[in-house]
């Protein structure tokens, strides 16, 4: 599997670390909603199909990427820097 890192170019999957499901959002630190925390820490959907997930280019630029990957074929539909994408989303919200 090749992941096209927006910074380094296409690189072998062995250069990356899987960093989990990108569809979940960390509750505010001040939140005491235990259910929300449980969902964030433990509950994962396991979709067969496109899935948004975090991959860190740990053997490269070390940036976290949001990768949309088809879990059945490993086809990669979209890649973006996590920090920039999340900040953009934060501004729009």
């Amino acid at each position: 599997m090749l992941i096209p890192c927006p910074h380094c170019g296409p690189r072998e999957v062995s250069e990356f670390s899987y960093q989990g499901d990108a569809t979940r959002t960390c509750p505010e630190l001040t939140s005491t909603d235990v259910k929300a925390w449980y969902d964030y820490v433990y509950n994962r959907p396991n979709p067969a199909g496109p899935h948004r997930e975090y991959w860190q280019h740990s053997g490269g630029c070390r940036a976290h990427l949001i990768v949309t990957r088809d879990t059945r074929t490993h086809e990669i539909h979209d890649v973006a820097f996590a920090r920039a994408a999340l900040n953009r989303a934060g501004e729009q919200a």
């Binding site: 235990v34 925390w37 920090r83 900040n87």
Partner: protein, 996 residues
């Protein structure tokens, strides 16, 4: 002896004779032989015993599909089992052994299993050992008794115990076009692709290019096919943009058009050139792949079909034409298609007598009839083989057979034969394609699975696609090559093929039903009856069939057994084969050496992390140990000292005067930016925003789930500038954790992280005289208690090198960590040693460091083990109540604050013996009634300060057990003894010494 070398012909070098041994007997062969062809040439037809029943088995095929003739190779003092004799090239001095026989191949005690044949049917082990036996043998006890004997009798070859001295290599390669298989189709594809100037790799598992052209006996382009293929191979080899890999099996097709291939570099050589690897594991990333992997001939299943002397028809033809070897003198053929007729004619041409061609079909093509005439025999149409006779084949029995109804009739008629060549049709080698495609498609005409729709960038060519003639192979090969190279299809004339116009579409006959064992999977000894039993017991899906009977799960991956097995299941279920389906062929296509997979990933290829002071340690007698990738001094032993004596001396020197330890391995992270303080407040359980500049603070991090992650000190160098230290072991994990939360959880925070572990060298100076040492060598700053209080830090110079000195203590003594640029590390270290000499400074290693911290009850990775919470370690004083932090939301879940949790205590040995790390702690002193473990030892040492063996432990209830007596139970180290549970703060619990 009936099999023999022909007087002429074949592609072997008859002038070069090669000596080899098989089971200790000497034989000769020729250059160009495989072990299999040389054995056949020497009349050796019995080469192994089968897996379960120990039946005698002979050579069945001529290539990678061989299920029977697995041998052990003895080379350079190493035994390598389970290598198909068909894939071993002969070299001078080759030593091979047959397998799975005792005491000898000819007389094998294990063959008694045949008498108990019914016992070993599918599911035998589960049915026998996992339940029904009652009484004292209930459950798995019966298995425990029998296991030794069964394991001895079952299985194939025996591996050696010696380490493998061979070297293995991994290689990455990139190309535009990868062609797998160099038969006529693959060669045409390579020629077409290379003219485009694209980078081409041509991989062929055999030693020579040409594939079936080497033994088809056809004419291509006006030449013998073998000559045509050699000429073309030479032209391709001369092209600069083609890399030819022979003896290279593409064994896996992975995502991103990544193909794994194994090159056997030196297996065929008596003496490998110096430095050459034995195997090379290629990872080839190709833009497009051309699969020209050909097709495998498959057998027809009939009673007695595993007798030595029964062989695939294509294999007999190949032995004759390529190796000049006749597998028999009197050969019969049994077929359901035309291809066996060509073999018959070839065998006759090389001097064998064709005794019969037994064909299940009522009608055959004119071309087949012509070949039968060449073979000098009138084919028996509408007949089938129903039994074989002889220890080695002497005759076959045939009966009338109707291919439509699959009924046998009439009396059995014997036909004398010492070799029976069988053809049950051809199955495309779709193994790689099925790893990179959807479901294979069943083809009624060919009675085989055709390649699936690709899910990756590959195209097929030749027999792989179901093309049955060489002419089709040439055209599909050229087209695939041109297409893969991005070129237009060509109208240029293809080389003309002269070949008999055979119809290899078989009659749909897979099995002749009759009495006696009929084998489907030879290598795993799976019979027709096993498949039907699986059906009767409800294991009807192909996936269940495979797992229940182990059909196709042997090292040959069912290359000869897949389709017959499915056909028999389809018959039992009364369904067409199409509806039964097939399992996916998984990698590897053929066995891959573990060495090649490990290649550079073990041994001396692992990186070594050395601190700037490494050479000094080694020069001063340090015994080094590995801590992750780091090399750290364990002890600085003096002559005659044991490890315990050395570390006790080192630790005592620290408590008495002063010692120095290399702490360069601690993880160091520069945390900078306007939000750095806020960030640290969130990731640490305690507060850092209140930390004054030029002060340090001990910090604890939790994971999101509330479990402790790591601890360390963080120093505030400026308003927006912190230097964080982590434990050596967790440096990488903490860095990744921080990067993750910064990128993903709080992307709005303006913080930048840099790993500076390798940029700083560090030395910790500890002991009552530590300050005196610093006073004599630090310039540019005072280091007295006022200028440098506990947790303070100052900038200065040591022998002209800039240093950062922070007053921290892990040992519980008055102590300082001196950091400097890595390049100055050794220089500063030596200056500190010189300054410490008047005080008898002792460098100390990991053992003394451990003893000092155990005496103080300081935790490390042994206690922060991924299961403990801050409360378990009595670090709850570090959990800020003023602010939330990572882990604060979940750390007080009921399960994490239960009273019965394992919590930190100290343990003192009461019998004067050392405690063992990992030893269990029990309450009962009665060895016969130990009861449950209440915890375990995490770390132990001899404490010079207490003059006792002490340890840290995690026990249920923690503090509540202080003062209690318990026992450690350490059966592995044979230690059972009394201990006293105490506070983990063994030494100077008030901390007077470090504040002094």
């Amino acid at each position: 002896m009936t099999a023999r070398r022909t007087s002429s012909g074949g592609l072997i070098e008859r002038s070069r004779t090669i000596g080899f041994t098989f089971d200790g007997r000497s034989y000769t062969g020729h250059s160009g032989d495989t072990l299999a062809s040389a054995l056949v040439a020497n009349g050796v037809t019995l080469v192994g015993r089968s897996f379960k029943y120990h039946r005698p088995r002979g050579i069945f095929t001529a290539s990678v599909d061989e299920p029977n003739a697995l041998v052990t190779i003895l080379k350079d003092g190493v035994r390598e089992p389970n290598i198909p004799a068909t894939q071993i090239e002969l070299f001078e001095g080759l030593e091979a052994e047959s397998q799975n026989r005792f005491p000898s191949l000819e007389f094998d005690l294990g063959a008694l299993n045949q008498l108990a044949g019914r016992l070993f049917s599918a599911g035998f082990y589960y049915k026998t050992f996992m339940g029904p036996v009652i009484g004292p043998l209930r459950g798995t006890r019966f298995w425990m008794i029998c296991e030794h004997f069964i394991r001895r009798a079952a299985g194939l070859g025996r591996a050696g115990y010696k380490p493998d001295p061979a070297r293995y290599e991994r290689m990455n390669a990139f190309c535009d076009v990868l062609i797998v298989g160099a038969g006529p189709a693959g060669l045409m594809a390579a020629e077409a692709a290379m003219s485009s100037g694209k980078r081409v790799i041509l991989a062929e598992q055999e030693p020579h290019l040409g594939g079936s052209a080497r033994w088809s006996g056809e004419m291509i382009g006006g030449k013998a096919a073998a000559d045509w293929s050699q000429d073309l191979a030479r032209r391709i080899d001369a092209s600069e943009n083609v890399r030819i890999l022979t003896r290279t099996t593409a064994w896996g097709y992975y995502d991103g058009n990544n193909i794994a291939a194994l090159e056997r570099v030196t297996d065929h050589l008596a003496d490998a050139p110096k430095g050459a690897p034995r195997h090379r594991n290629w990872a080839i990333r190709a833009d497009t792949v051309v699969l020209a992997t050909g097709a495998f001939e498959r057998p027809i299943v009939f009673p007695g079909n595993d007798r030595p002397g029964v062989m695939l028809a294509g294999a007999t033809e190949r032995y004759a034409r390529e190796f000049g070897v006749l597998p028999g003198e009197k050969i019969a053929l049994f077929t359901n298609n035309d291809s066996a007729y060509r073999a018959a004619a070839a065998l006759r041409q090389f001097g064998a007598t064709i005794m019969a061609i037994i064909d299940v079909r009522a009608k055959i093509s004119p071309a087949a009839r012509a070949l039968a005439e060449e073979a000098g025999v009138e084919p028996l149409l509408g007949f089938a083989v129903t039994a074989t006779v002889g220890r080695r084949l002497t005759k076959v029995l045939v009966r009338r057979f109707d291919a439509e109804t699959e009924r046998l009739s009439g009396d059995a008629r014997p036909i004398e034969a010492d070799c029976l060549a069988v053809s049950g049709g051809w199955s495309p080698a779709i193994h790689l394609a099925s790893q990179a495609g959807r479901n294979p498609k069943w083809d009624e005409e060919l009675c085989a699975f055709l390649p699936p729709e690709p899910t990756q960038a590959w195209a097929g060519a030749g027999a792989f696609t179901g093309a049955v003639t060489t002419a089709e192979a040439l055209s599909t090969g050229r087209n695939a090559g041109l297409k893969a190279a991005g070129k237009k299809l060509s109208r240029a004339k293809l080389p003309e093929v002269t070949a008999p116009n055979l119809d290899i579409h078989p009659a749909s006959v897979f099995e002749i039903k009759g009495n006696g064992k009929a084998f489907v999977d030879f290598q795993h000894d799976v019979t027709v009856e096993d498949v039907r039993l699986a059906h009767r017991e409800g294991f009807v899906s192909v996936e269940h069939l495979k797992r229940y009977t182990t059909l196709g799960m042997a090292t040959d991956q069912g290359k000869t057994s897949n389709v017959p097995g499915l056909a028999i299941m389809a018959d039992a279920r009364g369904l067409p084969i199409r509806d039964v389906g097939t399992t996916r062929f998984r990698p590897p296509f053929s066995p891959v050496s573990i060495g090649a997979l490990a290649a550079e990933k073990y041994g001396h290829f692992k990186p070594d992390r050395l601190t700037p002071m490494h050479d000094w340690h080694v020069e001063h007698g340090a015994r080094m140990m590995n801590v992750g990738l780091w090399h750290r001094p364990m002890i600085y032993g003096q002559p005659g000292e044991t490890v315990e004596q050395a570390y006790t001396r080192e630790a005592a020197t620290v408590r008495r005067s002063v010692g120095i330890v290399d702490v360069s391995t601690l993880g160091k992270i520069a945390v900078k930016g306007p939000d750095a303080a806020v960030f640290l407040d969130r990731v640490y359980t305690n507060q850092f925003s209140t930390l004054p500049i030029n002060k340090a603070r001990y910090g604890l991090m939790l994971r999101k789930d509330g479990i402790a992650l790591d601890d360390g000190t963080t120093w505030r160098l400026g308003e927006h500038d912190f230097l964080m230290t982590t434990t050596t072991a967790n440096a990488g994990r903490v860095m990744q954790h921080l990067e993750y939360v910064l990128d993903v959880v709080w992307p709005d925070l303006k913080v930048h992280l840099t790993s500076v572990t390798d940029q700083w060298a560090g030395a910790a100076l500890a002991g009552p005289n530590a300050r005196k040492v610093l006073e004599t060598c630090v310039a540019g700053s005072a280091v007295d208690n006022e200028a440098l209080p506990f947790m303070g830090l100052v900038y200065g110079e040591i022998d002209r090198a800039p240093v950062l000195v922070c007053r921290l203590s892990f040992s519980g003594e008055l102590a300082y960590e001196v950091y400097c640029g890595a390049g100055h590390g050794k220089h500063v270290w030596e200056a500190l040693i010189t300054a410490g000499e008047p005080h008898g400074i002792a460098p100390y290693g990991m053992e003394a460091l451990g003893a000092l911290r155990i005496e103080k009850g300081h935790v490390t990775g042994a206690e922060i083990d991924g299961r403990t919470t801050a409360r378990d370690l009595y670090l709850d004083w570090m959990l800020s109540k003023k602010k939330p932090f990572i882990g604060s939301a979940l750390m007080d879940r009921p399960g994490l604050i239960e009273k019965t949790r394992l919590r930190l205590v100290g343990v003192i040995s009461l019998d004067g013996r050392p405690l063992g790390g990992g030893a269990h702690i029990v309450e009962s002193g009665d060895l016969n009634e130990l009861g449950e473990s209440i915890g375990h030892i995490t770390a132990f040492c001899y404490s010079p300060a207490l003059a006792q063996y002490i340890g840290l432990a995690l026990v249920k209830g923690g503090k509540e057990l202080h003062g209690k007596r318990a026992y450690i139970s350490d059966p592995l180290r044979k230690h059972f003894g009394p201990v006293q549970i105490v506070s983990h703060h063994f030494f100077d619990p008030e901390g007077k010494r470090m504040h002094g």
